[in-house]
Symmetry: C2
């Protein structure tokens, strides 16, 4: 079977490799950018064809997405926001079950990363003034091209529209063969098209608005950030943050100070971010408002080893390296330690976080077989990043980027530093103190004041902050001409020799200033959540109607259900007592005392992923009081003393005890299951 | 002393009562609105004078706010956002300590309300399309008046500006006595001024822009919501939600369905909301972006009793009733049960939540003596609310509303229902089934289809949903004229007798539809947090420099510090071992192995509110290994076996054990404290 699949993929792999080699060659030869770009576009196209084929051949493993969405909607895990008002695309509300799953994922994340690694968690404003996002590059680069239907104003992403139109033309019998060849040659280039190229293409092929056939506007830039005005004057232009990371960068000095000036340290933030997608789709995967959990690990650029790397070095990870992608090869299993040693992964810290990301994902219920790390190829990596790996999960939408893990070098701190004039640096102790030459310009306040009056102070400050070069120039001019001109703000002043003294001396320094590098693991919480849903959607064997979610207890919205066998009054005090004991132990649970057979109610609790169910039955009424405890996935039940049950469930749900262990220590209970689950 | 204070307040109390009586009389006499309004304004003014005097006389209890703010800033609990870019008013970032305190408050809230009461927690979109906020009333009413400096564009709240100008004029010697009397008469009326009144006042008294003395614009309405456009077309106008509540209301049907159709139930939401304040001030108390935690308890409007009310009936609460406010009296201590019995609090459910709110606030560290519930007077209550009590905390800014607790009746559900045409109702089982008359119009699909073609379906649906009155009319017209006209959408159609049949019959119904009432406890998380900080800010006796925060362990950012007595290498493995054991027990902690005397480091951990500190000292090195455990507020220390310490701290921090109990069970350790804390 696998052999058969490989045979079908082989020619596609060859096609990728051929093109990959062409790209490599062009780069080696330092060919013109435009040629490289065209070759890369074709490479991307061939890679996509390969991946599509792989997914198609693997589709038999796919879950029935429609059924899963029915379940999630029906049980209000999440649903479109403002539906009674017609709904808004790309906005979702999480109901009680989704909200609990999300809160559990976030709590797990906080314990796993923030607490375990002693990170500094912050909570920053979502409203962000424009200059911050100019510096970060978002105002300039965070955009797509769109075209408008000239009559009804509907908007489309220009690249999507061109691609869709081409695809349609290729299947159109009225389009002649020459044009089809032309189109086939153009398709791989769409990704790299400039605004002008797109405009020309739309005109040349007479493309129209897909639903109305109306004429289309020229392509125009559309920034993906939501803008608003802060304050009543309308002068402070602001955006809703497109990521949480910038809030950490602008607080770098405070955080470094909190950490007593020491590197390395990591800051973390959980919070919402916003992107005004042109046409949101794919459910939770591409939305306009979403929760991120981001870590910024600040370290010495020359010291990217990690003290705890040995804890993850033996982990097996699936790596889809840039090389493998260029060569049309499959992802490969590596030991993390080996991958770092071979320099496939740039450094230990990046590798350490990749290991931790994988451990976290598995803890949340991601299927190990549907998780891989894909390396960005040099052409898709942000220009400031040195290395970047995406943790991708396989879903019915294909491989989805859920977590990015990038070495952003010192780009962000440098940008904010340039924009504000504030030094964003750490002090690094030198191995040996060193002597440095210092040139200083000190001003004679008396004579400055006499001549420049109210401007004297600003001039004094300007002189104190002079660079070595400026000191040299002024010293030279004063000795030659007896005067020297300086420009402070917009004004020019003439200095005389009696006003300043240039001092030169050497100083022993013990520290140097460095701009830290940043390693950034960035989690898209909604995408992780959606993948967890897909990877845990199950249908009971032999009963197509009984779908359920096998979420791990740590993530499940409730840990336990409490079910009286019937609505007999004598069950009530036992149910209440148990519920109280569970609450006391902080175990979230749901009492289902509605009518309906016990089997139906088990099915209902399975559907909302409750891992354990306690049933109060007739035997519970007699001393010694006992109840049955059922596990969701195996549907096996045991019978245990009522007073022990809260502690058993607690131990199970925090992972201190396995179900196997419980099975071995309590008598199996079979009767109820056999007679009542139907 | 108290007697002296009361003597000074007595005349002010009399003045309030006099005016309160006037207001009551005017209302009884159904006097013109304008007269009542003026009298109410004067009442408010007198109340404010009384309260200001009370606060002034009580100011000796106040903390030094400047010192506290220094501490919070220095230790990065929170600070202004984007400071390196000059900062934005009304936006704050929470640093590691503030973020942890906030997360702990929210986790406590979730356990205390959501888990304990089995509420349905949701997480809804912040971006909200305009029609939702038109229906809720926010687009129309959520506004202030502002004036603009005509030259530099600075904006001011019109009421604040008028008040400030008047206050200045009253102390100005150049203003004559007659004008001063006039101003004194106008001041109580500012609150009730219309836009036109304000405009006239500004012109009459020649008011100018306070900083520049420039001319001012006319007052203009300014909506406090941040607006933005959703999607690329710009057609969907949206706002950032001004409260989280609306997200719950628009999901009412899904939530009712999730609760299997049963009332009562409560939904809850924690999330951010946004208000574009004209001139934010008072630190965390009035900000542009803030976290709320809201509960909407839906119940039968005729059944507002609460099954768990007896749990809170014996609680003592300080109530400042509307009556007491009108009469110039002080707040009074009540048993909650008595207050509900006397109808001072409208119903049990409202009373139950007030009790729970108080318990929660005390748990978070609010000072019982600085907490009261103030009832809204009828003139300040939103027009749809039946009763509303604010939990207020006393701070250096005066009494601050931290939690609102309102009976909103069925206002919100009705509004959204009207706006969308979606029924937002619950079914209530009737005690006895009852017979109701039903009139139905059924259409003959064949003949409708033949005549109306594609419109037939819409006409059929229209007829099926006809009201009794319309059925009557059509029946009458058909029998008289043989035809009847109906309007569907924008089109008019003529019905003939063969197209419809009007059926009349009686039906036995077992349920009736009701629009639930909503009781809403609404928490301003930042305000609670700020009050907790003020109520727990302390200065060590005899050392003005040593300020600290005595936060309860449940709220404290770290539960424990780990301090090696010096940087001796042999301490290191003990510190690491202990840190690991604490992490394993989910105890957030901070290792402080920096240089500095143990006393200095204790002071540093006190400042960030760490309740317990473990010191590894020379005795720790010898078997049996022990360490000292210090409590922050008393500074007392005990000595305990090292392996017991994580469990002792765990029990202390979740409130399972008291410090007194620990003191009684382990030997007191005195030496270190005496010699090293200085």
């Amino acid at each position: 079977m696998d052999h058969e699949v490989e045979e079908m993929l082989a020619p596609l792999r060859v096609a990728v490799k051929e093109q990959g080699d062409i790209v490599k060659k062009l780069k080696e030869d330092k060919a013109p950018d435009i040629d490289i770009q065209k070759a890369v576009s074709e490479l991307k196209h061939r890679k996509k064809t390969l991946e599509d084929k792989e997914l198609e051949l693997g589709a038999k493993d796919n879950i029935d997405r429609g059924k899963m969405e029915d379940l999630l909607k029906q049980k209000f895990f999440y649903d479109q926001s403002f539906s009674i008002y017609g709904g808004v695309n790309g906005l979702y509300d999480f109901g009680p079950m989704g909200c609990a799953v999300k809160a559990n994922i976030l709590q797990t994340w906080r314990n796993f990363f923030v607490l375990e690694e002693q990170m500094l968690e912050v909570d920053c404003s979502m409203l962000t003034p424009e200059p911050v996002l100019v510096a970060s590059g978002h105002v300039e680069r965070f955009q797509d091209y769109m075209v408008k239907d000239l009559k009804n104003g509907d908007c489309y992403r220009a690249d999507h529209l061109i691609e869709a139109t081409f695809e349609k033309m290729l299947t159109d019998k009225k389009v002649d063969a020459d044009t089809k060849t032309e189109i086939r040659n153009l398709m791989p280039l769409i990704d790299g098209m400039s605004k002008e190229d797109m405009g020309k293409t739309i005109v040349k092929y007479n493309m129209k608005s897909p639903l109305t056939n109306n004429d289309l506007s020229e392509p125009m830039e559309f920034n993906l950030m939501f803008s608003t005005a802060i304050g009543p004057t309308g002068h402070i232009k602001g955006f809703l943050r497109p990521e949480t990371a910038q809030g950490i960068f602008v607080n770098f000095k405070r955080l470094l100070n909190f950490n007593q000036g020491k590197l390395p340290f990591a800051a973390a933030q959980i919070g919402n971010a916003f992107r005004n997608e042109i046409s949101p789709r794919s459910g939770l995967l591409r939305v306009r408002e979403f929760t991120m959990a981001e870590i910024e690990h600040f370290c010495d650029p020359n010291q990217k080893d990690h003290p705890k790397f040995s804890n993850v070095a033996d982990l097996d990870v699936v790596l889809y390296s840039a090389c493998n992608q260029m060569d049309g090869k499959s992802p490969q299993v590596w030991k993390l330690g080996e991958a770092v040693k071979q320099k496939l992964i740039a450094n230990e810290t990046l590798g350490y976080f990749m290991g931790r990301i994988q451990m976290f994902m598995l803890k949340c219920g991601i299927d190990r077989k549907k998780l891989r790390f894909r390396q960005h190829m040099s052409n898709e990596m942000a220009h400031y990043a040195c290395d970047c790996w995406d943790a991708e999960c396989k879903t019915t939408y294909g491989w989805v980027e859920c977590v990015g893990c990038a070495d952003r070098s010192c780009y962000d701190l440098n940008q904010h530093s340039k924009a504000t004039g504030t030094k964003l640096v750490a002090e690094k102790k030198l191995q040996e103190p060193k002597e440095v030459d210092v040139v200083e310009c000190t001003s004679n306040k008396g004579s400055l004041g006499k001549v420049f009056k109210k401007d004297a102070k600003a001039i004094g400050e300007y002189l104190a902050a002079l660079s070595v070069e400026d000191c040299d120039r002024i010293e030279k001019e004063l000795s030659t001409n007896g005067e020297s001109q300086i420009t402070v703000g917009t004004q020019t002043f003439t200095l005389k020799s009696d006003m300043v003294t240039i001092k030169r001396y050497t100083k022993k320094v013990h520290v140097e200033e460095i701009v830290p590098s940043v390693i950034e693991p960035s989690f898209g919480v909604g995408r992780v959540m959606y993948s967890v849903f897909e990877h845990n959607f199950k249908i009971r064997e032999g009963d197509e109607q009984r779908s359920f979610l096998s979420l791990p207890a740590i993530i499940a919205p409730y840990k336990c259900s409490v079910l009286p066998l019937s609505n007999k009054d004598s069950f009530v005090p036992f149910v209440q007592e148990l519920s109280k004991a569970l609450t006391f132990n902080d175990i979230s649970h749901r009492v289902d005392d509605s009518s309906g057979s016990i089997g139906k109610r088990y099915a209902r609790t399975d559907a909302i992923a409750i891992p354990y169910g306690v049933t109060i039955d007739f035997d519970s009424l007699n001393a010694p009081h006992t109840a049955t405890l059922r596990e969701r996935d195996s549907m096996k039940q045991i019978r245990a003393p009522l007073e022990e049950i809260p502690l058993i469930v607690k131990a199970l749900s925090i992972g201190q005890r396995t179900w196997e262990d419980v099975l071995n220590n309590y008598p199996l209970f079979e009767q109820q299951e056999a007679t009542k689950e139907k």
